[in-house]
């Protein structure tokens, strides 16, 4: 494995861990839901085990995040001027800068398409 492959795997592992926590699941829950051994989930999230395309798609679905975001092909933060972003938020202007920033990052991770292709293609 080259250094860049290692970095990419590590990045994906980090996002998988973040997405799982954002979904409210433990590693044990994920293992149970996907029929994996618990250590397999730990290894995936440590970047020590290669995660297949099929697994990425299943994990993205389970966590309600976009495949493109998981594999690093989508921006980390939603562009505020993106016309596709349509919200109803009564207190948006009252959000502190840091909170708005975190919200835009959260939105960037989410799936936006019912039939999102495995190679991403959303925001």
């Amino acid at each position: 494995m080259t250094e860049s492959e290692g970095n990419r795997r590590s990045d994906i592992a980090g996002r998988l861990r973040e997405a799982r926590k954002l979904a409210g699941l433990s590693q044990g829950h994920v293992a149970q839901m996907l029929g994996l051994h618990r250590p397999s989930v730990t290894e995936i999230e440590s970047g020590n085990r290669r995660v297949s395309t099929d697994e990425i798609v299943k994990l993205a679905e389970l966590y309600d995040v976009s495949v493109a975001w998981l594999v690093g092909d989508a921006p980390d933060k939603v562009d505020q001027s993106d016309p596709r972003l349509e919200l109803a938020a009564r207190e948006l202007t009252k959000l502190k800068g840091d909170d708005l920033d975190r919200l835009l990052k959260l939105l960037a991770a989410m799936r936006t398409d019912k039939s999102e292709p495995a190679d991403g293609g959303d925001r």
Binding site: S81, E86, A88, L103, M110
Partner: protein, 296 residues
Amino acid sequence: MPALRPAISAPDRRALASQALKAAVAARAKGGQNQQSPICIYGLSEALGVIVRFNDINMEGMYEKGERPRIHLSAKRPLVRRAYNCAHELGHHIFKHGFSIDELKEDARESSWDDPKEFLADTFAGFVLMPIVGLRQSFSSRGWNPATASAAQMYIVACDFGVGYGTLLTHLSAGVGLISFARATALRKATLKSIRTEIVGDAILNHLVVADSYRLSPVLDVEVGMRVLLPTGVEAADPNLKFERDTQTGRLFKAERQGIVQTVTPDGAWANFVRIAPKEYIGLAQYRHLEEDSDE
């Protein structure tokens, strides 16, 4: 300085409220719910194709329009507030509201309190969570009259519908007219601490959910650390809901760990499921009651 948007007129408010009521009835029907029982608003949202997520951002709630619509709620708000915020955001979904961030900023500069869209979403939230038929049933089954009900009685009805005490008073007075504004104002003077003390006999610092033998809903949602007062004699099938003590008005339990616990009287005449979420749970609403993973 830009001119403030004029306040919504009384006829306009009545028209919007009528629109909200019709939408609430339709939403319940479409989600497979009857028109009187308390509902789990997260379950209804999911049944209507809206994903519900909790985050730890300091906000009330937000609706994200799209092919996969979502409601984002802050776990930093009290449990009953989260439920109301979810109903409000579901209202935005039903009425197809959705604006760019720039539009929202521009709109907020003009006015935020007299926005018809927000009034519509708020009114929808009241009607979908607290249908008038269910409210009447909740009072009458206990032999109570909304017009004369005490603060403690109002609190128990609020628990029935999973809403806050103040939210119930607002809906009873401004939404369905079952009590006068003067009565609502008088009842607001009672503190939650004094009401809880009256119900259980001493001060309960954490939030208390009361489910008496007349409770309409078969499920009761709490989070770890909250107290639950159940009818006398009820036993919990799982230590995730820990018995604390008997009181004059029922048995007091504490939610210890996440999961779903069956509670039942020895004769089986009364049963309920207490669904316990982690305290200030962050994640998808659908996973909030999963049993804790002991290896984590």
